[in-house]
Amino acid sequence: MSQHTRQLTGWWAIFLVVIVCSLVPVAWIVSLSLKTPASATDGSFIPHHWTLSNYSQIFSTGIFTDALRNSIGIGLISTALAVILACAAAYAVARLDFPGKRAFLAISLAVAMFPQISLVGPLYNLWRQIGLYDTWPGLIIPYMTFALPLSIWVLSSFFREIPWELEQAAQVDGATPFQAFTKVIAPLAIPGIVTTFILVFIICWNDFIFAISLTSTTNAETVPAAIAQFPGTSQFTQPIGDIAAAAVVVTVPVMVLVLLFQRRIVAGLTAGAVKG
């Protein structure tokens, strides 16, 4: 065996370990979701009795479908707002030299570092006072706030890569600053905008802390919060199958999304690191 093949085999061994470690839990959840409630705890990896009843079960109750609707709605709105606001902010950061620019960036980074759990208590009280508790805006506002810093950082590194001259050329060509942005800069920043959109959407989609604390009914409860509150079919059975099925339903779309755009996402996170 040559040095090269041995090296290759070594790498593949490491890949395999990583793949097994990261995929086994997912496979286990899928397996659980396909087991009958009685065999859920039998410990075998491959289900003995295949069933889709868990899936039909969760879609037949309002808890999960309402939560899915809430998750999609709240996630999309928060993400859209965050990306639009972040576009404007990132563009200013990339193009203008305004006083306090560094402070602005530092503060936005600090917001991202802020422990979210410490805000849950105050927000709970505040939301109850002003009537935002258990509503869509009650979740959209904190999601947007915590998504903005990441969006601004990712987007500004994208905008910075677009040469100044393009915008000046557009201005000389007769574009207003707004037209220059929408017709020249934004189309070029599309990969960055898509990347940011996906990253932010995943953050909102996965959030548990705010979802469990700031909601109480199907009015605004998102999937992660709803799953935690699944009732069993009887008080003596655990809703393991239902939870697994719900987890698969909400995980798969995200995985597909990431697989589709992974190249872009990596490019987005490392934009500016090396000259392209």
Partner: protein, 413 residues
């Protein structure tokens, strides 16, 4: 079509640095004006003020008789070609060229017509549906030109449009630009740091240095009658040689011999301070040297001997380098030129000044050997050693130095 007027225009940055100082310059309708100077001289800033991409701190800028200081770039009816072309990467060549017209809400049929007309002029017809990334440097440059000409603007602004091309393509595009400008007769300001481009392309050239306009005129005038050392050293390739000298009475004493100065100049100097004696810097262009054996009538100039250190053959001519014993001429303007050329770090020639001479291909001088050279002193330039101003061009009277028969001296080296 429009005239551009700079009226006492100054560009001052927030930190107080003045990039352009009190610029007065008229570019008549249809003229191709070249702004030339070393990097950092303010030429690009001046251009960008015309484009509206830089604010004007002081003074007035008029395009077509109207003050445009406060107008946005889009309201100035200008088109600009950028140094790196600034083509929109997400648009095809066709869309790039039609972008301005589309913004102006021109009907699509008219856009198509104008774009294909421009593509025909620039030989881009087969590339109209390609993206800029798939084009060669020369093609991109032509697209940038095309984007400017489809709009039929009243002013073209070009910011070193050829500097990203290789040497051969640059020459080709230079003639192309000249042809297009003559055909369209659009007022054009063209910025370059390349004096060859300036000399070959411009109707008139404006030389700038450190934000200050040095001289404006047709290429031949800048070449033949530079007003100061800076212009003299900047225009011409290879550049002018400078030797220290002294005017005594009716002659100027140079390390390679004495030359008689014009009466008019002598009278002017005598009436001034110093009574006719003063230090000068003499400017000698390489092309006004010749192998003395090839000159039929040597009485018009100086004949002298020099040891040729290096001889370079260009095929059509020789460049001969030799050292003349002379004090190192120093002047702020010349130092700046040397710095721009990157020569500041080079060691100065010990005990003298290196002189470049262009000799005819028939010359039989050899490297390392003594040669008898001749300088046509009709073309001698004289500058005041202190101010750097030309002594010949002052008072508007342009006189050239003449050498009466018999005064040509031999100089041993």
């Amino acid at each position: 079509m429009a005239e551009i007027e700079f009226d006492d225009v100054t560009k001052r940055y927030a930190d107080g640095f003045e990039a352009v100082k009190h610029l007065d310059l008229d570019v008549p309708d249809g003229e191709l004006m070249i702004l030339v100077g070393p990097s950092g001289c303010g030429k690009s800033t001046a251009l960008r003020m015309v484009a509206g991409l830089e604010d004007i701190s002081d003074g007035e800028l008029k395009i077509g008789g109207q003050v445009v200081n406060e107008r946005a770039p889009k309201d100035r009816d200008i088109a600009m070609v950028f140094q790196n072309y600034a083509l929109y990467p997400h648009m095809t060549v066709r869309e790039n060229m039609g972008f301005a017209l589309k913004l102006a809400k021109t009907p699509q049929a008219e856009i198509d017509e104008k774009v294909s007309e421009a593509a025909r002029i620039l030989d881009l017809e087969q590339h109209l549906d390609r993206k800029p990334a798939n084009l060669s440097g020369g093609q991109r440059q032509r697209v940038a030109m095309g984007r400017a000409i489809v709009r039929n603007p009243s002013v073209f602004l070009m910011d070193e449009p050829l500097s990203n091309l290789d040497a051969k393509l640059r020459v080709q595009m230079r003639t192309e630009i000249s042809r297009i400008q003559q055909r369209l007769q659009t007022t054009t300001i063209y910025v370059t740091h390349d004096q060859t481009e300036a000399m070959t392309l411009g109707d008139r050239i404006a030389v700038m240095r450190a934000g200050v306009l040095q001289q404006v005129g047709p290429p031949s005038e800048l070449y033949g009658h530079p007003t100061n050392l800076f212009v003299a050293g900047f225009i011409g390739s290879p550049s002018m040689n400078f030797l220290g000298g002294e005017i005594t009475g009716e002659n100027v004493h140079l390390p390679i011999g004495d030359v008689r100065i014009p009466d008019e100049l002598r009278r002017r100097l005598e009436s001034g301070p110093g009574g006719g004696r003063r230090g000068v810097i003499a400017g000698l262009r390489p092309e006004h040297f010749e192998d003395a054996s090839l000159v039929a009538d040597r009485s018009r100039g100086l004949t002298f001997n020099a040891k040729i250190d290096v001889l370079e053959s260009m095929g059509s001519e020789f460049y001969a380098y030799f050292v003349v014993e002379s004090d190192q001429v120093s002047s702020r303007e010349l130092e700046e030129l040397a710095q721009d050329a990157g020569a500041a770090e080079l060691p100065t020639t010990a005990g003298g000044v290196q002189v470049t001479a262009r000799l005819a291909a028939e010359s039989r001088v050899r490297q390392g050997a003594d040669a008898e050279l001749w300088f046509d002193s009709n073309h001698l330039q004289l500058f005041d050693a202190e101010s750097g101003r030309s002594l010949l061009a002052s008072n508007g009277a342009r006189s050239s130095v003449e050498v009466p028969a018999g005064t040509s001296a031999q100089s041993s080296n």
